[in-house]
Symmetry: C2
Subunit: 392 residues, 2 copies
């Protein structure tokens, strides 16, 4: 973590137009973002559960303040760098939602000593013993959630593995604090159709609630029952027994989420602006100065019904051309073509013309950039430049 | 471009061991790098041609100084941010090897006014006219190379298209400066076997030399005849008519280059160090804290004979385990498994143990990090931390 980088993070007032910016750059439509945030808030309010947004998507204090329910949180982070940045900006309630490595506990304790309620995640007795030992040594109990594996996609304890759950809980209670259980239905990204998504959401809920029941039956505390992913947060119809929902990409949405069906193309708030730098007319190619360095190499839609290549191409106002995609990319070159078989027409774009490209995966594309250029709707006026941070 | 970021760039003296570093982090074996640089230099010296290294791979002043033939260059860059950073570090001879957008010409002129011989690239009459107009307006001729398409993989003028070549050259000579021709055999990344690589190298040479011949026959100047890619630079046996070779990834090498056959696994100088954070023992999974954010999503070896997943796993000394790969990745989680069908044994790694993961594509993985942790060979001593920059 770099203290200099933290103090650098401040919004920059700008007075410019999209036409004046250097390309490639990351453009954020604040109107679309506000609509996306309001939509999930309203949905969860209807289900009676609070939102703990995942800030790994935005890595920006300004965006975080739009998406959190208060300036102090709650929030979810994926790195201790995020935890430190958001702590410096006043966030006081965070879950570090990646399994804890023992060597990271001194940083966790340092943030907690600053008044940040930073909670760690784990799924082994070895980690629980390390957290308890560090807590005892520091005289400061570190709160931990047990990760539950609701769909086999990654880490976590099976909700049926009562023995391991209780052993982890007891190891924590020897000096640390068992705060509860957490799961993430990462498998929902592969689900297709509203009914399959509702089933993912119910499997996610049932897994984490079952685990909580086991812990409580063993006399262990379990105040927090946390779940979430953008697809399941937008699909759940019952969240009984759940205390909070986590979601990240809902704030911007992206082409993968549109392909899953939880948003429309016109909801996607993030795009990369690029400039036309060439043509290979006989091949139907337009070359732009946004390659994989600007877009990331996430090809998430390649496994969906409609592959969007490296992104879907829009005009400078953010309106998508039918079937115009960034079909290929090198480090700083992108090749725009019409989608094969679509019969669409290549727009007549000249050297120097600008386009905006919607990303497959907002988390990955955002991470390639150092700031957001903030616009609203079809206006070309850039209201602000909001810094992003990266690293670990 | 950010002036603050430029002044920040300085080597940091450190006195630590790999065991003390936060993970994930980027580790550079300076011994392997030195060997890689010496190997290409010796090869090109034998062919009688100089090296103009592509600094998009390293984005680091310290690495650039190891790879350039002098502190002033020559060098190749892929963004104006790179040009500005390296200019601030004293580099005076650079080609910006991505087709120029007219809106970028004021920055080019500003760098040239500082005494940097920055050369632009183009492949259309429209760009040539824009460069000539900007040159006339500034009273300072901007030198430009014409990009030649030697293998159909991206941009450039076909070496048989004499009419377009001469039209671009004449448009430049109306106020700007025609410096020569440049090509890049990007298609060589898909070549398999020494003979196919030699053929790519010869096609690359023939294309750019033929274009130079056309320009000279039309009475136009063509002092520079530039070509290169790491595979062809290591495969060419004749570079008659060529004035310089460009290559980037040779400095670090990576799994894609090993798959092509231009290096061995033990030549790869770059790795990502990660910490074990969990197991799914019944599935044969080891979870680490390096996901696609640390590795990038480059899956370049997936199209080769041996797919390395998101990377090949080594011990902390940088020695690869047989057939142990990062098979899957989420943003901050990686899943290590043995390669399916290999019959290899999963090593016994405990929570907190550290591994190093070789990347598919050094340019892409490097770009996910803010610095290099510099080691030599199997030693765990970290000699230095060298900053990297990013952005545009």
């Amino acid at each position: 973590m770099n203290a200099a980088a933290i103090t650098e993070e401040r919004p920059t007032a700008v007075a410019s137009s999209l036409q004046d910016l250097e390309t490639p750059c990351l453009v954020l439509d604040a109107d679309r973002m506000a609509r996306n945030v309001a939509r999930l808030r309203a949905r969860l309010a209807g289900l009676g559960v609070g939102l703990r947004p995942h800030l790994k998507t935005c890595k920006s204090v300004e965006v975080a303040r739009q998406v959190m329910s208060s300036a102090e949180g709650p929030a979810t982070v994926s790195t201790l760098k995020e935890a430190a940045h958001f702590a410096a900006a006043g966030v006081r309630d965070m879950i570090y939602a990646v399994g804890i490595a023992p060597a990271k506990l001194p940083q966790v304790l340092a943030l907690r000593a600053q008044g940040v309620d930073l909670v760690v995640l784990l799924d082994t007795v070895a980690q629980a013993e390390a957290v308890a030992a560090a807590s005892r040594e520091a005289g400061a109990p570190i709160p931990a959630l047990i990760e539950i594996d609701c769909d086999g996609h990654r880490s976590g304890v099976l909700p049926t593995d009562a023995e391991r759950l209780v052993a982890i809980g007891r190891a924590l209670e020897n000096g640390a604090e068992l705060r509860g259980v957490l799961t993430h239905a990462g498998g929902s990204y592969a689900a297709r159709g509203a009914e399959a998504l509702r089933q993912c959401a119910e499997d996610e809920r049932r897994g984490v609630v079952d685990a909580a029941t086991i812990l409580r039956a063993a006399g262990l505390p379990c105040p927090v029952v946390s779940l979430g992913s953008t697809p399941t947060a937008h699909s759940a119809t019952d969240l009984s027994g759940v205390t909070e929902v986590r979601a990240g990409v809902f704030v911007f949405f992206d082409l993968v989420m549109a392909g899953i069906g939880v948003c429309q193309i016109d909801d996607i708030a993030l795009s990369v602006m690029a400039t036309v730098i060439g043509h290979q007319r006989e091949k139907g190619w337009i070359l732009v100065d946004a390659g994989w360095m600007a877009m990331s190499q996430d090809r998430g839609t390649s496994k969906q019904a409609v592959s969007q290549g490296y992104g879907l191409v829009c005009d400078i106002e953010g309106q998508a051309w039918p079937d115009l995609i960034l079909a290929d990319a090198n480090q700083e070159h992108g090749i725009i073509t019409v989608r094969p078989g679509s019969g669409a027409t290549l727009p007549d774009l000249a050297i120097g013309d600008r386009v905006r490209i919607l990303p497959n995966h907002a988390c990955a594309t955002g991470a390639q950039h150092r700031s957001y250029q903030v616009v609203r709707g079809r206006s070309a006026a850039v209201e602000a430049e909001w810094p992003r941070f990266g690293g670990w």
